[in-house]
Symmetry: C2
Subunit: 213 residues, 2 copies
């Protein structure tokens, strides 16, 4: 299958970078095709603004959603967005690899959703096409992450709560809206607060999960 990895860590030699490389290698070894959007290295523009739209539908007042609908209709999306849309259409599966900052993805990854998850491309709300009838139906998505805090802090009894529950704002409210099927997330918790041995074991488990895809 075709796998797109959206990578959102500023440091290539971080544990996130290691996970991204391990996932890509493992998938390729298993005969899959892999493309990577390395958002930091691409200097991906995080902020949805007027500069995304060369042909304004309304030049007086900027309404982001209306301009997105118009730009998709006229094919006047900016090139960086077109490129991401093409990769997304190509992919059978999208893996999001990111560090958890404030129980959520870095701004650059939120910006990828703001700019690339376009009306008419991932859903068509006017025609009621979302969730089971979302336009990305048939594709799969998985979150893969690291946290600063250890697992206990992110347990259902811990102060932050269960991270898989917290992440419903992504898995349900962003990904499932488009029809994407969610594959259970995989994360390495608090790598900076544990032994190198333990991180190595976690990477082995990670590789097994990637192998099972």
């Amino acid at each position: 299958m075709n796998v797109l990895i959206i990578f959102a860590h500023p440091e290539p030699n971080s544990l996130n970078g290691v996970m991204k490389d391990l996932a890509a290698k493992t998938l390729r070894d298993n005969g899959h095709e892999v493309k990577i959007s390395d958002l930091y290295r691409m200097r991906f523009k995080a902020v949805l603004d007027e500069n995304d739209f060369s042909q304004r539908q309304n030049a007086e007042q900027f309404n982001p959603m209306m301009e997105q609908v118009n730009a998709v209709g006229t094919g006047s999306l900016s090139q960086d967005i077109k490129d991401e849309v093409e990769k997304m259409k190509w992919a059978d599966m999208i893996i999001f690899q990111f560090p958890v900052w404030w129980s959520s993805p870095p701004a650059i990854l939120k910006g990828w959703f703001d700019r690339v998850f376009l009306p008419g491309v991932v859903h068509n709300i006017a025609e009621g096409k979302m969730y089971d009838t979302g336009l990305l139906k048939g594709k799969k998505a998985m979150l893969s992450f690291t946290t600063g805090a250890p697992k206990e802090v992110y347990s259902s009894e811990g102060p932050h709560g269960d991270l898989n529950d917290i992440f419903k704002f992504i898995t349900h409210n962003i990904l499932e809206v488009t029809g994407l099927e969610i594959i259970p997330s995989i994360g390495i918790y608090g790598p900076a607060m544990t032994s190198k041995e333990h991180v190595k074991e976690e990477l082995e488990k990670f590789k097994e999960r990637i192998n099972s895809l």
Copy 2:
């Protein structure tokens, strides 16, 4: 009291802009001091990266959290972050005014948290200072927003679920971690899909809420 409004919509004449202006005027009329961080107009840098750190603790490998701890310790934060930290310290209350994009704030606002909510400024995890002992204890915060979808879609029986539940990833996992006391959120749902009269009524309710602060 001192109120800081963090405003995260690209269009000053949007309904979000109207809400921001109405909140500022109402608060000032009531004798409060108001400062506004208009993130789009400030061209606020959304992406936490190496450029935030002039004096690297580790020049070889970029670890964002470690560099934040170091920069707070040495006072070497970049000026735009220092300015936001000053405003935050000055404030007794912070109001976040934003459009809901994908059931969450725009990337530029997530970036504000990534870059301004610093270890040693909003919490001190090493010393266990978070939640009830968070460093912003004594201050208050409120989310104020607009949505594209109507209220039914964001109800507990609706496809997206109750937005106040979804927003726990902000109110609990970002704001309460720092000790901030949460004031119930206020939102205008689906203004583009309703009558001007209804929006006017919603703005009246909004003004009443601001008056009650």
